[in-house]
């Protein structure tokens, strides 16, 4: 069996196959400041003050519009805070960061778990062997009530990546090159398993970058078999032993793709689709107004270290805005200790509080018509960051190099 077939079989209490529709229990139900208020209103409308299925298995994370910037958002957050005090569920407030990263850091995620939330990038939890699913408000309201939901068991495709990454070529470049081939519907309604020598040696941050962008291939979930370092991290956070998870050697995959990345160069997704991927060299020189480094895809400490290596002792280009947003407060503290804030601030960057940041127009730093941004986030849909704006997706290395020159820049050519 593949990893998702094993997880669903265990939770459903029977041997499941791709295409089966099943009900399963859930380990954790989450919602955020966006979507969450609608969940609460729908829950109240249908179930009144009925206690949630298990208050210890519910977490609310504030990560999108934080702190509140409009009266409507303030009201939405108030609805969630009231729900927290009535129901006794856990709240990670505006001071914490990106929800999935927060629950990972807080030990609420383990391999084999099934976790749902109102965020389309919940599936990045596959980076530690947990099945995370983004859901709509009705699903989450139902999950809060019963601790159960229905699923279609997806087929699994296997993406094998072998080879050694060259300097300034990162996990982001790998996943963009995968997207270039699989396209935005390449994993539609499928689970993805990443394997191969490149993947095996990846850090947790790199694994998160890989699995987070399975959403952009329309995949249900992307898994990476945890290595010793990942298991140690989860064990230390969860305070308990971690059960290993891996696909069976005879697991059946619907398709297998193989990539050899020894010669891979920095990649960039051009407007307005994450699969419109080219080599950075081929679009180098395009004028850029703003650079964003952060998001659930590239907001970890390791990502900021890469940006720091490039920005150290240098100033960003005249007229450039560089916005850096660590994924969580823990990452902020790591970056502070490592001296990265000094480097960033001296270079001319703006640092804002941890969260999802420039993934939607909800955050400070949105663009004017005609402006161009290079972002380390995962989406560049038209209009997502301002009407008439153009967004490119790239690695923290390419983003930092671009901030220095004011033009799309291959970090190897600096």
């Amino acid at each position: 069996m593949t990893i998702i077939e094993k997880i669903f079989s265990r939770h459903a209490g029977k041997h499941v196959q791709p295409g089966d529709y099943i009900w399963t229990d859930l380990n954790l139900v989450t919602m955020r400041d966006f979507g969450g208020p609608n969940v609460v209103m729908e829950y109240r409308e249908n179930f009144g003050e009925h206690p949630v299925f298990d208050k210890n298995r519910v977490a609310i994370t504030f990560d999108l519009h934080i702190p509140a910037r409009t009266e409507q958002v303030a009201l939405n957050q108030k609805i969630l805070r009231e729900f927290v005090s009535h129901q006794g569920v856990r709240l990670f407030d505006v001071n914490t960061g990106v929800g999935q990263h927060i629950i990972l850091e807080s030990g609420l995620v383990k391999p084999w778990d099934i976790i749902v939330g109102t965020d389309s990038h919940m599936n990045l939890l596959g980076a530690v062997g947990a099945a995370g699913f983004g859901m709509g408000t009705t699903d989450i309201a139902g999950a809060l009530y019963r601790g159960k939901l229905w699923f279609r068991v997806p087929e699994t495709v296997r993406v094998v990546i072998n080879g050694t990454l060259k300097k300034w070529v990162t996990a982001k470049d790998v996943i963009l090159s995968v997207l270039k081939h699989l396209k935005t519907d390449g994993a539609l309604n499928k689970a993805v398993e990443f394997a191969g020598t490149t993947i095996r040696d990846m850090t947790l941050a790199e694994r998160i970058t890989m699995t987070s962008m399975v959403t952009e291939m329309s995949g249900d979930i992307g898994f990476i078999e945890p290595n010793a370092d990942v298991s140690t991290f989860i064990k230390s956070r969860a305070g308990q032993d971690v059960e290993a998870i891996a696909a069976d050697p005879d697991a059946r995959y619907e398709k297998e793709y193989e990539f050899l990345i020894d010669a891979l160069t920095p990649q960039i997704a051009c407007p307005h689709s994450p699969d419109n991927v080219q080599s950075v060299e081929d679009v180098a020189g395009t004028k850029v107004d703003q650079v964003f480094i952060g998001s659930c895809t590239n907001g970890r400490f390791d990502d900021l270290v890469i940006a720091g290596q490039i920005l150290k002792g240098k100033k960003i280009a005249q007229g450039m805005r560089l916005i850096i947003v660590p994924a969580t407060t823990e990452v902020v503290q790591q970056a502070l200790k490592a001296g990265l804030y000094d480097i960033f601030l001296s270079s001319g960057a703006v640092l804002t509080n941890p969260g999802c940041a420039l993934c939607t127009t909800g955050h400070a730093g949105i663009l004017a018509p005609g402006e161009v941004m290079v972002s380390t986030s995962n989406r560049n849909f038209i209009g997502k960051l301002g009407k008439g704006a153009h967004v490119y997706l790239a690695s923290p290395a390419t983003a930092a190099a671009t901030a220095l020159t004011g033009k799309i820049t291959d970090p190897r050519k600096l």
Binding site: Q72, G134, G142, T184, L188, I382
Partner: protein, 165 residues
């Protein structure tokens, strides 16, 4: 259940920002949300002005891709659209549609259908008749589990029944 309505045609990869632009995410009132259905899509303005109850959306592959916003399915249902027929649906949109009782069908060949065509759609069997073009198509209905949820009036009513049993 048989539905009769006229076609609004959309292309491939209609994402949730086209169905329901992100700037309206703070809205929580379903009627207000419905006024922005398809606003970000090509010819979205025309749709908003002219959509009528029972109308049918016909689209290409990967309809509803992008974010998890249920607003997308809610807005479409609220606009009066009676069923969405697409080559394929993104997972979250499909779930949301089932969970709120917005009928959906998968149909491989949507190319010949034109804007304004009158269809009758049998949501249970998947039979679609194009009255304007005098054609019949066999679409794939949803699974029995999904049909049960839709027949119960959506996920929350279904779960309530489950709890009472």
């Amino acid at each position: 259940m048989i539905i009769k309505g006229r076609v609004w045609k959309f292309g491939d990869d209609i994402d949730t920002d086209q169905i329901y632009p992100g700037k309206y995410l703070p809205l929580t009132n379903k009627h207000e949300m419905a006024r922005h259905a398809m606003e970000g899509a090509d010819k979205g303005d025309e749709f908003i002005k002219e959509v009528r109850p029972h109308d049918i959306i016909v689209a290409g592959k990967n309809f509803g891709c992008g974010s998890s916003r249920e607003h997308a399915a809610i807005a479409i249902k609220g606009s009066g659209v009676s069923v969405v027929v697409a080559q394929s649906f993104a997972r979250i949109f499909r779930r949301n549609a089932v969970n709120i009782g917005l009928p959906i069908l998968e149909l491989n060949n949507v190319d010949t259908m034109k804007k304004g065509d009158i269809l009758t759609v049998n949501v249970t069997t998947g039979e679609i008749k194009n009255i304007t073009q005098n054609q019949v198509y066999e679409a794939a209905p949803v699974s029995p589990l999904e049909m049960e949820i839709m027949n119960a009036g959506g996920l929350l009513k279904y779960l309530k029944q489950m709890n009472n049993e």
